[in-house]
Symmetry: C2
Subunit: 577 residues, 2 copies
């Protein structure tokens, strides 16, 4: 049997409601209990379940609805009594909680909270999603960084907020950012960890928590751990917060090792993210660890970047780089990505080597046109010349009709190399040279003149050859290498070495971050204004950070039209002040 | 100006044609040259290019067509003369080549070649694709293993050949298998490498060559390197050859370390492949290295398997495991995958941890139903109970409508755990328990009773909890761990440890390979019959292996109808003999 009670104009956050629910369900004779705000979506769920009495159809978002179910099989009169007894205690249970945590004056608006705590550099927002962007926007306009815990914020709002933040040198973590650590203080859900040299940037949530906890368990610590929200690394948002957070940690003196954790970013922005991370690492002399769960990268390191396959491995690599005593590591030997500008071209006679190279190129250099497939590759369009990066498997049947396979007779490679050299937009060509029985008896006889000719046509052209062979092969490995090198190719033994070489010469520049984040965002001790879930305020106080909690309610009692009028009035007042 | 000449009934393989083309193009006054067999596809290409004179429309597949182009701008009469002189030398150039390599008697059929070289355990087939399956089938029927270099073999033919091989305890490498090393002898394209303890199974081509060359360069060697063809690991073919090759190398006394190299197999068969590799490794006490280029696996090792991200890393791991002096490594501590039978269920409160677990499960255990996505995952169908593996992110907004997030209040996890325990088909449940500020003040108070109850319902149920927390967290990490363990959960610190634990208890059994391959396939010295590209025969001779080359021509001069009649006649004769 279900029993209802409403309390009009009594807004509570989801955690208070959860605690009320648990307390009610523990009372004698009560089988289960529910407590929700009268939002349209909650009403709809109740209506769909046939659980909404007709007289409650007019509930507003700041009306509280409490439901208790009395035990099955209990005598109906007894059940009614238990329900009434329980519902009569709702006010007391809510008041008890309020008395425990709320001795102080509660500001009713963000503006007054910031007057109470002007040193707050952060505003934590965890109000329901439909109101969250509004609160976050006000915080940015008042010059504060935002930790936006709320989910359900529309994509367009997220983009607009991040644009505003970028213009003002501020950071928006979220929406749907579950966790962060700023200057040793946890925001939202956060493990308590010692401070140390490892700086994290992560989408949000348990990935960041798992790495931070693991770094702590391994004896090191966290400088800051910044969340971006799960949608930040999508093509639409373009990693707006991640790029700025990485750059900020690069300048942060407490951070000695950079770590980026993410589910696979959109292929379009992986390269941009890695370039920013590498550029920041090089500029700052800080090594960087990357874990893109589910995106395979065919090397363990490139330039200053180390790649981890799991969250635990990311933590272990970071601690290893930081040194267990927390001292800063020596800067890496500094490569110079971006010293050659232009496109990369790959000419492969073997499909598997081509595939491995393609997996790396798309991640490091962005979109690559190819007759093979990888995340971020673009189908090869034979009908027009390439303008960007292109990598071809020349052993593909479609290319060898009526011609010998390029391993049998590398003239196809030589012809393509000549073609690439005539394109001044090409910075480097990577090719494979495969020796052994069955292969051409002397590939260098065909390829060395082609390399020499290509270099004559285009003296800046970098030509890297991966030479697959052994000292027992009939072609004479040493002589092949010597002749290719003499002609002007850089000859390497394996693909990771080739990738490193290309990266050092042709790695993408990072575009400079405009209006970088003001470092005050990371200053200790942390002070924040909390709008939304009250327990986040309590957690800040428990961590000896400063916090002011706003006694937030849905604007105009949830009346959207009135809220819109009030918003306009308040904007006018803000301009006037 | 183009000049043509035909030689009727004069079949030559593609490498001979390539050499003829190069020789003709080197003659005085000749700008370029072409030499093709009159196959329908070659004729079509010439016709499409407007290069096929009307009087050559009737060419048959064993008719040779030679074309030379005389130099632009040369006097026409001179050009005619040079062309005639060049075309007159075609016979001589072909004969010179024949005289160089062909002092001995050449059998005209596979049957007579096998009579000449009865000890041949292998038949190498590199005739054009449309004829290749026929030759391979005859080889299998005559009890020989097949190295099938030809491409263009239809999928149905590949499946049929591999079924025949399986029934007869034979191996088919290919179609489109470019390379292999058997007992120290290279087949097709192959680098010369010393023999040693590393046994490879690879799709084909340059992946295998790059790893073999690298193993040699690192001072170790190859026992055997078996190709499977690029389509073997597709869902259609199901890894038929790879599974059997792995099992064979497991029994091979010369192989101390197993290595599997592949572009990502179809998600459906990745788990089957890894299970076979792990079972073989455990049975034989041989460690195994896996490189699935482009398929991210969120651990570096699991049971006896080590995972490499690049071809070079696979080689380095294998050499490391083998020991640089080639001695066999000590067997791994033996886990017992498959000791628990049944489904796995994952209950996660965090999306990133859930994603990492899902990436591992789909690879190790096969299809997994989930509300997240990974290669090999299946969308969660809420409308019916799960029958196989299922992993849920319980923090998903769709599951928390009107309920607190499971990190705030783990009762949702507890309820699901009770549900899983009522399903006797479930072998193990993996859940995450996340501590820290913001999270539930005492998750063990909710979860430990749920674990105890679940174990009471289903005493065989393995419950693994990943506990994310630190010794500074407000919940008391040690006490949380203790209470969960006391209730019967296995508590681990990170996901790789959880995956290892699940794998040891619930790893999939490998299905026994029926009609395993006769070990004579790997016996030295190698003896083979070669049908197709003549230079493969020459390479065998150069490696001091035994080879008989069949003087193969398209059956019935390329007349398909006549060929079909002859085939039926020959089958009748074979049955009679």
């Amino acid at each position: 049997m279900l029993h209802y009670r409403t309390r009009r104009g009594s807004y509570h956050d989801s955690i208070v409601l959860m605690q009320l629910r648990v307390a009610l369900a523990d009372l004698p004779g009560i089988d289960d209990a529910g407590a929700v705000m009268g939002t349209p979506s909650n009403l709809e769920i109740l209506r769909d379940g046939g659980l909404l009495p007709a007289d409650l159809e007019d509930l507003a978002p700041d009306d509280l609805l409490v439901v208790v179910r009395t035990e099955n099989g209990a005598d109906e009169g007894q059940g009614d009594e238990a329900a009434t007894a329980a519902l009569d205690r709702v006010g007391e249970l809510l008041a008890r909680r309020r008395a425990e945590s709320d001795a102080d004056y509660r500001p009713k608006s963000l503006a007054s909270a910031l007057r109470m705590l002007p040193e707050a550099r952060w505003v934590m927002v965890s109000v329901p999603g439909r109101y969250a962007a509004e609160v976050a926007r006000e915080a940015l306009e008042r010059g504060r960084n935002v930790f936006l815990f709320s989910d359900g914020v529309p994509l367009e709002e997220e983009k607009a907020l991040k644009e505003t933040a970028a213009e003002r040198g501020l950071l928006v973590m979220g929406p749907d950012c579950g966790t962060a650590l700023v200057a040793g203080t946890g925001l939202g859900f956060a493990n308590r960890v010692r401070r140390g040299p490892v700086g994290l940037v992560a989408a949000s949530g348990t990935g960041l928590q798992a790495v931070a906890a693991r770094v702590h368990a391994l004896g090191s610590g966290i400088s800051h751990a910044l969340g971006t929200g799960g949608r930040d690394l999508s093509a639409e948002v373009g990693g707006a917060s991640a790029l700025r957070a990485i750059e900020l940690l690069g300048r942060d003196p407490a951070t000695g090792v950079l770590v980026l954790i993410s589910k696979p970013p959109s292929p379009e922005i992986t390269a941009r993210m890695l370039a920013e991370l590498a550029a920041t690492a090089q500029r700052a002399g800080k090594p960087a660890v990357v874990c893109l769960l589910g995106r395979e990268l065919p090397f363990r390191r490139i330039g200053p970047l180390r790649f981890a396959g799991s969250l635990s491995e990311a933590a272990a690599l970071a601690v290893d780089l930081a040194g267990t005593n927390g001292s800063l590591p020596a800067p890496e030997e500094s490569p110079h990505p971006g010293s050659l500008r232009g496109s990369l071209r790959g000419l492969f006679s073997g499909g598997t080597l081509a595939q491995e190279a393609l997996l790396g190129w798309t991640a490091l250099f962005g979109p690559v046109e190819s007759n093979l497939k990888a995340p971020g590759s673009v189908p090869w369009d034979r009908s027009r010349p390439a303008t960007g990066h292109r990598l071809l498997d020349l052993g593909d049947d479609a290319l060898t009709v009526g011609r010998p396979h390029p391993m049998l007779e590398p003239s196809l490679v030589a012809e393509r190399l000549a073609e690439e050299a005539r394109d001044p937009g090409v910075a480097a060509v990577l090719l494979d040279v495969v020796l052994g029985d069955g292969a051409h008896p002397d590939p260098a006889a065909v390829l060395a003149p082609a390399v020499r000719q290509a270099r004559a046509t285009h003296p800046e052209l970098e030509i890297v050859a991966v030479l697959i062979g052994t000292d027992l092969d009939p072609q004479d490995l040493g002589a092949q290498r010597h002749r290719l090198e003499e002609a002007g190719a850089r000859v390497v033994d394996d693909l990771p070495a080739a990738q490193e070489s290309l990266y050092r010469r042709c790695g993408p520049d990072s575009e400079p971050v405009s209006h970088p984040i003001d470092p005050s965002a990371l200053e200790a001790p942390l002070a924040a204004v909390n709008v939304g879930v009250e327990s986040f305020h309590e957690a800040l106080i428990a961590q000896e950070a400063e916090s002011a909690h706003v006694d937030w309610r849905p604007p105009a009692g949830g009346d959207e039209r009135l809220a819109s009028i009030l918003r306009r009035m308040s904007a006018t007042a803000a301009e006037a002040s």
